[in-house]
């Protein structure tokens, strides 16, 4: 079959990108059992933010950071004004509320920028020679950044006090409250972090994908497939889920048409859910 290096590189960069796009959703879902339907739109906000900041003349990497901060701010507003009142009323209400917020975000961006899409250039245009293959440098950098981000989150969760508070609350909210932890603030922190990560992901993928008000839809579907197929037990579940969705799709696309590849992946997801309904990479 001649399965070359470039296919392998495509697969791992695809997994890395999807994992970083999804991890924000995972944190909110795993921590607060909130299904954030606005997740894809926060990715979209991140992309538009980086477009705006770079147009103002700011260096691309700084602009990506600013975008993360900006979307974090939006996330804070959403949590404080809408989501925090709905934790007790169950998932359907948070799903509906965040779906509505997503629509508001899409339409606001469309009103400001128009529907035709924006453009931001890659910060690095060169190609790197890897084992005889020329590969775009930016994709490799993106992959490395994804690894850094995922390792960073893992580290924060496992080794810092803030991470401990988050994990405690994730495990058992009532017990955590009983021990004096301000779970309200932990939830706020979680939602802000999830939003910031979505924004950062959006900023980082902006140079390699189309930027339009509805781009979030493609990513929210893929992100949900990741958490559904991978499970929400830990970060590893998210990475595993990304492997299933992005990894398999790119793998199959290496020798099959794109439509057939996607269909195959969906069939795999159905089978996986049937066999392991809590997610392939979950503990049960």
């Amino acid at each position: 079959m001649g399965f070359g290096i470039e296919n392998v590189l495509n697969i791992i960069t695809a997994i890395g990108v999807l994992a970083v796009v999804t991890v924000g959703l995972y944190i909110i879902l795993g921590l607060m059992q909130v299904i954030n339907m606005a997740h894809g739109d926060m990715v979209m906000l991140g992309a538009y933010s980086v477009v705006t900041f770079t147009k103002m003349g700011i260096n691309y990497w700084l602009a990506a950071l600013f975008s993360a901060f900006f979307v974090a701010l939006v996330g804070a507003i959403v949590e404080l004004c809408v989501v925090q009142f709905l934790y007790k009323t169950g998932n359907l209400s948070t799903m509906l509320a965040t779906w509505g917020i997503g629509i508001v975000l899409q339409q606001t961006i469309k009103l400001i920028f128009g529907p035709q899409g924006e453009f931001v250039d890659v910060p690095v245009t060169s190609m790197i020679n890897i084992m005889g293959i020329e590969y775009p440098a930016y994709r490799l950098i993106l992959f490395l950044l994804c690894v850094v981000i995922l390792v960073g989150i893992f580290f924060i969760l496992k080794k810092t006090k803030a991470g401990l508070l988050v994990r405690t609350t994730m495990d058992n909210r009532i017990m955590a409250q009983a021990m004096g932890i301000n779970t309200k603030n932990v939830y706020l922190f979680g939602f802000i972090s999830g939003s910031a990560l979505a924004g950062l992901a959006g900023a980082l993928i902006a140079p390699i994908t189309n930027i339009s008000p509805l781009m979030g839809l493609d990513y929210v579907t893929k992100s949900f497939l990741v958490v559904i197929s991978g499970g929400v037990d830990s970060m590893l579940s998210t990475i595993g889920g990304s492997f299933i969705i992005a990894g398999f799709q790119t793998f199959f696309n290496g020798f099959m048409g794109a439509t057939n590849s996607w269909m195959t992946v969906l069939v795999i997801v159905i089978i996986a859910l049937w066999v392991r309904p809590r997610g392939v990479f979950s503990k049960k």
Binding site: Q116, F119, I208, N210, L214, Y219, T221, T250, G257
Partner: protein, 414 residues
């Protein structure tokens, strides 16, 4: 925990199911409407406009909306259509054939429009064609694409009320592809979005390439919402074609071109395509499409008085940052001028009389001379070879007036 798991299960099942169902197209039979909207609502001629301002054709949808608004304003300033005011009713069909069907019925039955124009993708257009034909409302669709003007029950006959303003793949490519192969080489690779228009386009292009001594070294299709084209780009690099022909309309094209550029594709081969480098998508693809060759029915740099009026008025009203494209100018504004001419020629807005007036009608539109073909209801029009340079679509060569052969490859009624 239980509630959350249940919700997650429902969500996952519905997500996966909906993705499968989304693939099963929208070939549903519309309800028959026997109402004939020949009455004039007061002193107004109503034109229904289906503009996909959301969804993957949103760049074209926005152009349709603006073209219609400008045409309405200018035509009314000029005395209207046969003395009657023109009113456009614009609906968003969300680039979705099912929504297009509903909105078309709404425009016909509720708003009682006299004419229908617009639609973006071929899938949307095909959904509206039977609705318009059965409701006896003339429908002139705005975008280029394969022939859709044959009768629902007989592919060798024209349908009475359907007209195509845009060129078919044959019209666009018959002279263009040989010119490109002559310039760059005979090996051609095709990529397209996976639905009816790109398939038709690429199939016809492949035939023309082979008939002119060329070689098709690859041909593949990907879903419109694909976010990662790296595997396809790798295969293209491996095959080393002379010409890369892309039919990736809307946002799909932007994603592909951005990624392809990073893999160095633009340095290795001549890149061209249909609908991918549409002027309407220019803001998103922008400067990285410099040097690309494009074939289309219009560039805003065309030098004729009708175009000058249009471009000046468009720039004054909308202050566009990017070049003005065929969808707004030829597909919408030009179409409304055609309706005006046909109504005034027939002296009536009765559909049956107007469609007869349209056949053989010769017009001077912003895109140049146009004749509405009496045989197949397609606008016979000039085709231009252009190159994207200096932020606009520079004219390289006028390839002459193209006609479509009868109803070849008509996709209606399949």
């Amino acid at each position: 925990m239980k509630k959350y798991r249940a919700a997650l299960k429902v969500l996952s099942l519905s997500l996966v199911l909906s993705m499968f169902l989304a693939g099963c197209g929208a070939g549903k039979t519309p309800a028959l409407s026997s109402q004939v909207n020949s009455s004039i609502s007061g002193e107004t001629v109503k034109i229904g406009v289906l503009a996909p301002t959301t969804g993957f054709m949103s760049t074209h949808g926005e152009a349709i909306k603006l073209g219609a608004q400008l045409a309405e304003e200018l035509i009314n300033k000029d005395g209207g259509i046969g003395g009657k005011k023109v009113q456009v009713v614009i609906e968003d069909d969300k680039s979705d054939p099912a929504v297009a069907t509903e909105k078309a019925k709404q425009l016909i039955n509720k708003d009682k429009v006299n004419f229908l124009i617009g639609t973006g993708s071929s899938a949307e257009t095909l959904a509206v064609v039977p609705v318009a034909e059965q409701s006896k409302i003339p429908f002139i669709y705005s975008l280029d694409g394969e022939c859709k003007t044959c009768a629902l029950d007989d592919k060798s006959k024209k349908s009475k009320y359907i007209f195509a303003s845009g060129p078919t793949p044959q019209m666009l490519l018959n002279n263009f592809l040989p010119s490109m192969m002559e310039k760059f080489g005979k090996k051609v690779y095709f990529v397209g979005s996976d639905y009816v228009f790109p398939h038709f386009m690429n199939d016809i292009a492949a035939k023309i390439v082979k008939n002119n001594g060329g070689q098709v070294v690859g041909s593949e299709f990907a879903p419109s919402e694909t976010t990662d084209y790296s595997a396809i780009i790798n295969r293209i690099n491996k095959e080393k074609p002379d010409v890369l022909f892309l039919t990736l309309p809307g946002t799909a094209g932007t994603t592909f071109v951005k990624q392809a550029r990073q893999f160095g594709i633009f340095d290795k081969m001549a890149v061209t395509g249909s609908a991918t480098f549409d002027t309407e998508a220019y803001s998103a693809i922008g400067k990285i499409s410099d040097g690309v060759y494009v074939v289309n029915r219009y560039t805003d740099l065309l030098d004729n008085p009708v175009n000058k009026t249009f471009v000046d008025a468009y720039k004054a009203k909308f202050k566009p940052e990017n070049p003005i494209g065929p969808t707004a100018s030829s597909g919408t504004y030009g179409v409304m001028l055609a309706i005006k001419a046909a109504v005034e020629k027939s002296g009536s807005i009765e559909a049956d009389k107007v469609v007869i007036a349209m056949e053989g009608l010769k017009l001077n539109l912003p895109q140049g001379e146009v004749e509405i073909d009496a045989g197949n209801h397609i606008f016979n029009q000039h085709i231009y070879l252009m190159q994207i340079k200096n932020n606009d679509y520079q004219m390289v060569k006028d390839l002459g007036i193209a006609k479509h052969p009868d109803f070849e490859d008509c996709s209606v009624g399949k």
